[in-house]
Symmetry: C2
Subunit: 216 residues, 2 copies
């Protein structure tokens, strides 16, 4: 891979997520990969899609987010902070999406990154059927990296929580695959709540090995 974008949504650098991010940065740059990071908490990224994202409104009487996204992409008039993220996605061969599982899905700030940055007209074109295998981000890969507080047993198929990979399908399938990305198997760190330092070190090493095993 030449270019990797890591979209990172954890509030505390001195955390397992912080250690995983630092390890990914080192591992990838040591390989000669160009890495960009969108540290959403660090950037104080605006989480909420609203009318102010569209300074050049298509229809000022009724706010229809999808219609405004299509118009804003077509006229290159989306809010500057979104445009910056779009350029990062355009440059990336691999998109790494890293977050702690909160309520079995993404922290709000990361959901908001997708709500705002993955604009219709940029990632898909529903009207022309450019979705899934014809999605506008085809040719790129995606890797979802998560830490889960609970142990793996609770997420076993038939377990009390259900299979975590199924529960992440709204992200892996309905969002990333829908946009044409090739989605690699999700990298999960279970038992992350109060993890012991030795276990954390081992998880960091396993993540580095996982990154090195990704084929260009």
């Amino acid at each position: 891979m030449e270019n990797v974008l890591i979209v990172y949504a954890a509030p505390e650098p001195k955390s397992l997520n912080g250690a995983l991010l630092a390890a990914a940065l080192k591992t990838l740059t040591d390989q000669g990969t160009c890495v960009e990071v969108s540290d959403l908490y660090g950037m104080k990224f605006k989480a909420v899609l609203d009318a102010s994202d569209f300074p050049n409104r298509w229809d000022t009487t009724v706010f229809d987010p999808a219609a405004e996204q299509i118009h804003a992409i077509a006229t290159d008039s989306i809010a500057p902070d979104i445009a910056t993220e779009i350029e990062k996605v355009r440059r990336a061969d691999l998109l790494i999406v890293q977050f702690p599982i909160w309520w079995t899905s993404m922290p709000a700030i990361l959901k908001g990154w997708f709500d705002r940055v993955f604009a219709q007209g940029f990632v898909v074109n529903v009207g022309t059927g450019e979705v899934y295998g014809r999605g506008l981000l085809r040719g790129k890969k995606a890797l979802v990296v998560v830490t889960a507080g609970s142990p793996a047993e609770l997420y076993a198929p038939g377990g009390p929580h259900g299979d975590l990979h199924e529960l992440l399908r709204p992200l892996t399938h309905n969002l990333l695959q829908f946009c044409g990305l090739e989605v690699l198997p999700t990298h999960v760190v279970y038992n992350a709540a109060g993890i012991a330092p030795d276990d954390a070190d081992r998880e960091v090493e396993m993540y580095q090995d996982r990154l090195l095993a990704i084929e260009a």
Copy 2:
């Protein structure tokens, strides 16, 4: 039901979601029910859980959201906007969660409401096993009400998107049931993108009928 809280996350009042909300308010208040509404866009609700939610920190050296939530609930020191929402949830017999499906899940502002308001120590107590049937919100009911842009066929089991009810499980099961709420079958309006006025009127009536059929 005596008390209903509607948590509502749509940015445009002149939308099908706005019409559904207005109809619910009328239908429920006509029945003598006390209805509170948290209109998250209207309130400009802060979507992102961060350290400023915890003015009386348990540990100022490392920010651990779960630990801070438990401490803040135990010491009654959570941020005032969260405390206000917690009181609304406490008063409610039925929690209605209404939103347009964005990327097959909640808009970020609503995910943030759950990240911030459904604080550990208030909704569950993992350490003492007070989850699922023993969750701290047991005795209350929940109804998820969503509009989906796509037609129902795309969400059929085995269809390209997959079963919408399965895709909403992180909310219905892993969040609401996890906290002890009795979750009613999700009310879905498919084909909501560009819905014709007559069809919208019929959907509003069907939603009113649905609300009237909920048993106390």
